[in-house]
Amino acid sequence: MKRVKVGLGTCGLSAGGQSIFNKFREEIRDKNLQVELCETGCMGMCYEEVLIEIEDEYDSYLYSKVSVDKVGKIVNEHLINNNPVKNWIIRSKDACSEESFLNKQTRIVLRNCGVINPASIDEYIAKDGYKALENVLNNFSREDVIEEITKSGLRGRGGGGFLTGLKWKLAYNETADKKYIICNADEGDPGAFMDRSVLEGDPHSVLEGMTIAAYAIGSDEGFIYCRAEYPLANKRLRTAIRQSREKGFLGNNIFGTGFNFDIGIKEGAGAFVCGEETALMASIEGKRGVPSLRPPFPAQKGLWGKPTSINNVETFANVSWIIINGQQKYAALGTQKSKGTKVFALAGKIIKTGLVEVPMGITLNEIVYDIGGGIKGGRKFKAVQMGGPSGGCIPAGMGNLKIDYDEITSTGAIMGSGGLIVLDETTCMVDLAKYFLNFTQMESCGKCTFCRIGTKRMLEVLERITEGNGKNGDIEFLESMAVKIKTSSLCGLGQTAPNPVLTTIKYFREEYEAHINEKKCPAHSCPSLIKYKVVDELCKGCRVCIKACPNRAITGLLKQIHVINYDLCNKCGKCFEACKLNAIIKV
């Protein structure tokens, strides 16, 4: 029997996946077809959504950019007449137009995403789900589990990169009447959506990972702290937990081994700082999400004062794979100190935006060019921004940098949770720094002086610079303030908030200087510092720009060179976008 899988992750849904799913259901019902229709999670190729996959006994065919009006044809030709619509298929057994995107990837965390129906525990079980847990409970001592994970070299995927096995060991070493496992699913970096995709596409892998961790440290209760802005992830998690309890994989006496563990969901209200583990725990406890000083570390005094191990979604999703395939196989991937794979959310000025999982050690250039297909519009690759607001920029010149925790840290950026934003020559680095600082500034919990007011004052200086009011000493002010904020903030948010500013100053100081000294934005991006100009030689007098201008700032008769009236121009850039002759330029 044929099976139609519609990608209904958030990316699929926002591309209109639900109506396509409905349309298929309608067609199948109307035409009384013997076809199974199901949903699946994100397949990673978000740039091709809506994706649907049709499987039969021999092959599977991946259709991209499916719209409602295409459904009829696919049903008629492929489902009824067994005649796949070749033009719309991007991957099948015979041909794959997306090889470059897929070939360099190694899918461990995303192994089931876009493959199974996340709402079905049976499909997860069919993919060896809960086998690792069964194995661990029956055949591993708690120390064995910790050793296996330690040896695999798995490091915390939330950004810190702390050795997961070691973290568990610390919690294991504590004696207490109660211990907690927490899954940090408070993914808050702008542009990052790895955790969401895993939770939406393969929730059971996270539950299984948590249960194994709980066994290892001796915990009987866990929480998933997931932001309420992820409604689908929360729904999938609730379903998964219910199913898991029904099957006896959660609850009392799991697999008859006498081990008890259960998981609750705590929906976060969307405060970025709650991704910080002490703030996250405060939030679970019902308090304002405000970080507190470590030590004591959560492993010693965590949730409600009890030893607690907090790991990220992606970290947990690795665990059962490692148990099943053995730590050696995992450790074989990657570099000396960074093992396994890393999931990245590719975004920005890149052709193929989406979710990719790559082995550690791959270079930036490989990600940008081979997987991401290079820069949009044939423009020049300028830099990547990694690690979200806590991270930094790595210039294109360092494209051969290997994806490795320590290598990335040495640039001033961080691995972070996996946001990877590609920037081209039209991106103003001061503006970028401003964007991220604005984010952290707004998301600071407001407790510590430096983070609360210092970031605000830095932001004001950046705003001034991008508005053409920068003055001598501004860069030095930013640098000195940045260092003070980094050394005198309590939690990771404050300690890393100045990173985007520091790395852009480090690699693109001349851009700052151009803003301040010459009142110019080299990327032609800051509205206050640019002017739109008609290139007389190229203007054919087509009036397109005149129609596009909302302020009637452009005048000119048909077939005569047009003129911009700068008193009226508000630099919205509509003319620039409208002109097909490149006759309007930014200067």
Binding site: A271, V273, R288, V290, S292, L293, P295, Q441, M442, E443, S444, C445, G446, K447, C448, T449, F450, R452, I453, G454, T455, K456, R457, E460, F477, M481, K484, K486, T487, S488, S489, L490, Q495
Partner: protein, 1251 residues
């Protein structure tokens, strides 16, 4: 515990593990690490980051307040990096601190006079203090208040509401109120000489401040009299010279030498002065040289004067007659002064010619208006061009019309002549008042100081020093013609520099104080002042035009006292109330911060004064969170919280509601928590700016918990409660207070005081002197004794009196009056079981101290609502819970504490005794009783055992209505014989209770061996602060001091001997209520109680022929008294008070007060008229006698519980008796109307507003 070795700034120290770096550093006094968010009483949170230090091996700075020491840690606390970081932290905080440390009026006063504070003092009626304060910065208030340019009023924030506060008028009011009365204390002579050249405001002020500091000053003045421009430039009708003379005389009388008629350059020079032994010279010769008009014939034509010369001449010689028309040229104050003076010299008409328009006119607006009212015409945009004379006598002037063109940026518009606009004005006299300058002729004769081209003397603006070391200058001579107040300011500033110069050879001043100012951070808008209601500015009365234009009488009149009170009420109190105590500001000074590089967006918040007693100014909040955590963690109320994130985060009441609509219990502990002025008390008086405050720690005089309370005294009798000192945070209540303790003491500010001894004869009250009144009382009591016998007199004392007063009172009754009619209405009338435990241990009092709560395993609260009655007891219980104690609550209805209870026994009213019997049966049945203790230490066990055994447990449970499992839980909590169980009960509580609860509890404690054992027992709270002391002192007919009962013959004999008075026949039980009802009491002496606050009580006094009331306040009872004796207030005398657990604490005398005696002296004086034995020289002697007479008080020492000491020592051999009682199912509500002024005040004035 093993100590941890750490190294701080290269010094090795040992400290206990678990300490934070900050604690270790502060404990060892190694450095004063600054912090704003640290409070040792709550969990640290580190927000301010002021306390950062460096730890070797950590590349960040760590907050020392929350970093726990580790062995081997190497810490640096004062590197440059640390100092820079702290400085930046402060600068960041202050860059978003939209608030004024000091008010703009003070900020903008050239002399820095503390305007807000003197206005506050005026509003309190403290005129003398206000004037003294003015004189700290301005020694010439009589004169200045008549002539000042009033920058204070220009910058007054009230301008945003309506009109500025009439600051100058207020100053004049206090200056005129009692002129020159206050004399400053002159410091010891320093034998240093200073020469002051020029006797104007600058010179006088310099001379004054130097003289006060002990320097010998000589003033050299060119003109015949002192006063400078005040005398020779300001006309009489503005500043009467009599006033100026008196002020100068007041100053000279301090010992200033004066030489007049001597001129610098001619008669002496600067170098001579210095070589003649003057240690320093002040040059303040002013700017007396008038500018020329620059017209041809100006000097040679008769009828032309220069303004300032004209004014001076009038002062020097007689007033000339100016018949004819006068024209004055100019637009400044001198022009107006000259014009109005000319009018008063008889001019036919006076016109002013001014080349710009009204807007540009520099003269004071009021002066211009006054001149116009007097008929003086002003020709604007007019300028003289030439003089027309005949026979060398002025006939008229030719003028030009002018028009204004835009001037240079920041300058006034420039007048330019309109061509061809010439016209003629006829006149007989022309006065040119277009400016003055310094007469620099002195410099020609002298090796003089450097001058600028304009003729002014060059000085170092910081120090006022001229180019010649040791020579200082100020006033107009350094500024050109400016204002009198600037001259005064310069004089004072120079005086300070001169003192530095003489002391150290260097004039450097160190005035680097930091002030936050709203103006520095943002532009103010009227919207911020929307919530202030408008009120009219005080109108200054002036003489009518008719009655003033022909003479030199002073035109402006002083405002009335009513006006001044009303006007002072208009002050918006811009300066921070916490100026003096603000840690933030202190650190800003210390770290010499500069906010300029950090200026940016500022969050502006509206202040919130909706709570009747707590005022919020979120602009001043620094997000330290101490208030939030105190409220949440200590009080467990959570009325405050943070809202928003990032730069916008701020503390607000929960859900951003008005505080009164949250859980807030109005305890005000957030006020003390706040390190700035963001949360402050809404004082019942005006905020007084930067006046220093003195701390006085004493004991709260409300309930029997006996909290330590700190009064901050502002000025004289003005004070408020503020528990912010380090010492008070170490007190047993850790400085926490309830709303009674915090706001209730406002009764002490009440003016309803009894201040005079008074007698009511035939319905009229007459003040009588003290001796006479005592003789009168003696006579009256004698006659009543003669007529009705000794037992017709009764004495009543308040449980708010000190032990000394109470002891003396009962001794007065028993020894002096020889009656046993001694009691307290509080205990007498409302049937509270004050004797429940007498049968067990001999007295009804606590058997363990409040400290035992710290080690309690189980705390049982009986029928009490501590949230309302004894909040601090509730906090102690909550703290004990955090240490692991379980809380069991007995009470039929829910109280606030219920939700914190581990078990709530919610039995029906009146059933608790029964339940206790059941629980005792359960203990007996389980064999969980202290057999050995019972056998060796108790009596009457068998009788009680029989009663217990007859209890039917299921019946008792059913009868009480509680769930059976609760009974079992209760048993589980208390069954362990080794656990510490503390029962807590407020014996005076208004809540329902069953009659014999306490007896049952006592039996339970005996049954399980918990009497006399540390950390177990019962704590009995009482309603008033010395309710326990009152019983201990024997203010009760039932027992003598030390609970000596009528059957204790040995003890009675002992006390009789000590008192030298036989008590056997006197000390007999008596039912005073009955005697009162029957009218057998004919004379009543009431000390500190107000039984007539309850109307029905009148029946007790129907037959009283003589009522003596000794009290501080006018109460209902005082109104009925035949004799009134004033008593000092609680703050005006010391004394010892015994709190609920027998701890004796000493109260402090905070105010001197106006009464010259303390209350014990009143009782002593009265008693001495009746008997010997009252010869005490101090209250301390009385306490010594108490220790001898009261058998328990030999165990007492300050801040120690006599009860604990007694149970640990004397108690060992005493047999304890089980108490027999029946079960009475009738619950009773002791209805207890309050009969004490402070409580009534609290209920009527504080509590009412909080409901």
């Amino acid at each position: 515990m093993e100590q941890v070795k750490i190294t701080i700034n290269d010094k090795d120290i040992y400290t206990s593990p678990g300490k934070t770096i900050l604690e270790a550093v502060h404990e060892n006094k190694l450095d004063a690490i600054p912090t704003l968010c640290y409070d040792k009483r709550i969990e640290h949170i580190n927000s301010c980051f002021l306390c950062v230090v460096e730890v070797e091996g950590i590349n960040k700075l760590v907050p020392s307040c929350s970093t726990i020491v580790r062995s081997g840690m190497r810490i640096l606390t004062n590197t440059q990096k640390i100092i820079d970081t702290r400085k930046t932290a402060l600068e960041l905080l202050m860059s978003n601190h939209y608030a004024d440390c000091i008010a703009p009026c003070k900020m903008n006063c050239p002399a820095g006079v503390d305007v807000q504070t003197y206005i506050a003092l005026i509003s309190m009626g403290k005129y003398a203090e206000a004037l003294t304060l003015v004189k700290e910065k301005n020694p010439l208030p009589l004169s200045i208040s008549r002539v000042c340019v009033r920058n204070c009023e220009a910058s007054c924030r009230r301008n945003f509401v309506d009109e500025p506060v009439a600051v100058n008028a207020l100053k004049r009011f206090i200056a005129d109120y009692n002129p020159n009365k206050w004399i400053p204390v002159i410091k010891e002579k320093k034998n240093k000489k200073v020469a002051v050249i020029g006797g104007g405001p600058a010179g006088l002020s310099c001379a004054y401040y130097l003289t006060v500091e002990g320097y010998s000053v000589t003033i050299f003045e060119k003109l015949p009299e002192l006063g400078g421009m005040l005398r020779y430039g300001i006309p009489e009708y503005r500043l009467p010279k009599k006033v100026l003379d008196s002020e100068i005389k007041w100053m000279l009388d301090l010992g200033i030498e004066v030489k007049t008629g001597v001129e610098l350059g001619l008669d002496f020079n600067l170098q001579e002065l210095l070589s003649e032994g003057y240690n320093a010279v002040f040059l303040g010769v002013g700017a007396h040289k008038a500018s020329k008009l620059g017209l041809d014939g100006e000097n040679s034509t008769y009828g032309i004067f220069k303004g300032i010369d004209f004014l001076r001449e009038i002062q020097l010689s007689n007033i000339p007659e100016l018949k004819g028309k006068v024209i004055v040229v100019g637009g400044g104050n001198t022009a107006i002064d000259a014009a109005r003076t000319a009018l008063r010299c008889g001019a036919e008409s006076v016109k002013i010619v001014y080349r710009r328009s009204l807007n540009e006119m520099p003269a004071a607006r009021e002066e211009i208006i006054a001149a116009q009212k007097e008929g003086i015409e002003i020709h604007f945009l007019t300028n003289p061009k030439s003089i027309i004379s005949k026979d060398n006598r002025l006939k008229s002037i030719e003028c030009l019309s002018m028009e204004l063109v835009e001037g240079k940026p920041g300058e006034r518009p420039r007048p330019v002549p309109k061509p061809g606009s010439e016209f003629i004005i006829e006149c007989d006299y022309l006065i040119g008042a277009i400016g003055q300058s310094v007469d620099t002729s002195f410099s020609k004769f002298d090796q003089s100081c450097t001058l600028r081209n304009s003729g002014i003397v060059v000085i170092n603006e910081e120090t006022m020093e001229t180019s010649i070391p040791g020579v200082f200058a100020g006033g107009d001579v350094v500024t050109g013609p400016l204002t009198a107040i600037t001259a005064v300011a310069h004089g004072r500033k120079a005086a300070m520099s001169i003192m530095n110069f003489i002391a150290s050879g260097c004039a450097g001043l160190n005035n680097g104080k930091f002030f936050s100012s709203k103006d520095k951070l943002a532009k103010l808008s009227a919207k911020e002042f929307d919530h202030f209601s408008k009120s009219a500015r005080a109108a200054i009365k002036e003489l009518s035009v008719k009655s003033r234009v022909h003479n030199f009488k002073e035109v402006d009149q002083v405002i009335s006292e009513e006006q001044s009170i009303c006007e002072s009420g208009r002050c918006l109190e811009c300066g921070c109330s916490e100026y003096y105590d603000c840690s933030l500001r202190k650190y800003c000074d210390e770290y010499k911060i500069d906010v300029t590089p950090y200026l940016g967006e500022v969050k502006k918040y509206l202040t919130d004064g909706r709570h009747p007693f707590i005022f919020f100014d979120p602009n001043k909040c620094i997000n330290c969170g101490k208030c939030v955590r105190t409220c949440a963690e200590v009080l467990e109320v959570s009325a405050l919280g943070f809202v928003n994130r990032g730069f916008k985060s701020i503390v607000k009441p929960a859900m951003e509601k008005p505080l009164m609509e949250t859980n807030c219990i109005s305890c005000g502990n957030c006020i003390d928590a706040c390190p700035t002025g963001a949360i402050r008390e809404k004082y019942p008086f005006k905020v007084s700016g930067i006046l220093p405050k003195e701390n006085y720690e004493t004991i709260c005089n409300f309930c029997s918990v006996g909290c330590k309370v700190n009064f901050k005294k502002i000025s004289g009798d003005i004070f408020y409660v503020s528990n912010t000192t380090a010492e008070i945070k170490d007190s047993h209540n850790k400085g926490y207070l309830c709303s009674k303790g915090r706001f209730g003491h406002r009764y002490l500010l009440s003016k309803e005081r009894i201040m005079h001894h008074a007698v009511k004869i035939k319905g009229t009250v007459q003040n009588v002197n003290r001796d006479e009144i005592f003789r009168y009382i003696h006579k009256k009591l004698k006659s009543i004794i003669d007529k009705y016998g000794r037992d017709s007199i009764a004495v009543f004392g308040s449980p708010k009196l000190s032990n000394e007063e109470l002891y003396l009172l009962q001794k007065f009754a028993r020894v002096g009056l020889k009656t046993n009619n001694i009691h307290s209405f509080s205990n007498l009338l409302y049937g509270v079981e004050q004797n429940s435990l007498d049968g067990m241990v001999g007295f009804t009092n606590s058997t363990t101290s409040m400290d035992s709560l710290n080690n309690a395993d189980v705390i049982v609260v009986l029928n009490s609502n501590f949230s309302e009655d004894n909040l601090i007891m509730e906090l102690k219980i909550k703290e004990a819970q955090k240490k692991g104690a379980k809380l069991i609550l007995f009470g039929s209805s829910e109280v606030r504490l219920t939700k914190f209870a581990d078990l709530w026994i919610d039995g029906k009213k009146g059933t608790n005794t029964y339940l206790f019997n059941a629980i005792m049966k359960r203990c007996l049945d389980s064999g969980l009783i202290a057999v050995e203790f019972i056998n060796s230490r108790t009596a009457h066990f068998d009788e009680v055992k029989a009663m217990i055994e007859s209890t039917n447990i299921p019946e008792a449970i059913e009868f009480s209505g509680i769930k059976p499992e609760k009974f079992e839980m209760f048993f589980d909590f208390i069954k362990n014989l080794n656990s510490n169980i503390v029962f807590v009960n407020n014996i005076d509580s208004n809540r329902e209770k069953s009659v014999n609860d306490l007896k049952a509890v006592a039996d339970f404690l005996l049954l399980t061996g918990r009497i006399g054992r540390n950390d177990s027992g019962i704590i009995l709270l009482r309603e008033f602060n010395n309710s326990s002391g009152l019983m201990d002192m024997g203010v009760n007919p039932g027992f003598l001091p030390g609970y000596v009962k009528p059957d204790e013959n040995d003890e009675i004999s002992r006390i009789s001997r000590q008192w030298n008075s036989e008590l056997k026949d006197i000390f007999k039980p008596v039912n005073l209520v009955k005697k009162l009802e029957k009218g057998e009491i004919k004379a009543v002496l009431i000390f500190g109680e107000d039984p007539l606050a309850v109307k029905e009580n009148v029946r007790y006094f129907n037959d009283a022929e003589f009522i003596v009331v000794c009290d501080t306040y006018y109460t209902n009872t005082a109104a009925e008294a035949d004799v009134l004796i004033p008593a000092p207030s609680y703050l005006e005398q010391g004394g010892s008070f015994t709190r609920c657990d027998g701890t004796v604490q000493q109260s402090t005398k905070v105010n001197k007060g106006e009464l010259e005696f303390e209350n014990w002296q009143t009782i002593q004086a009265l008693a001495s008229l009746f008997s010997k034995g009252f010869e005490y020289n101090s209250a301390g002697e009385i306490l010594n006698e108490i220790k001898n007479v009261n058998r328990f008080y030999k165990y007492c020492s300050y801040n120690n519980s006599w009860l604990t000491n007694y149970f640990n020592n004397g108690f060992k051999n005493q047999k304890l008796s089980f108490l027999e009682y029946g079960i009475d199912f009738t619950a009773f509500n002791p209805v207890k109307p309050v009969i004490h002024y402070p409580e009534n005040y609290y209920i009527n004035n504080i509590k009412m507003k909080l409901l």
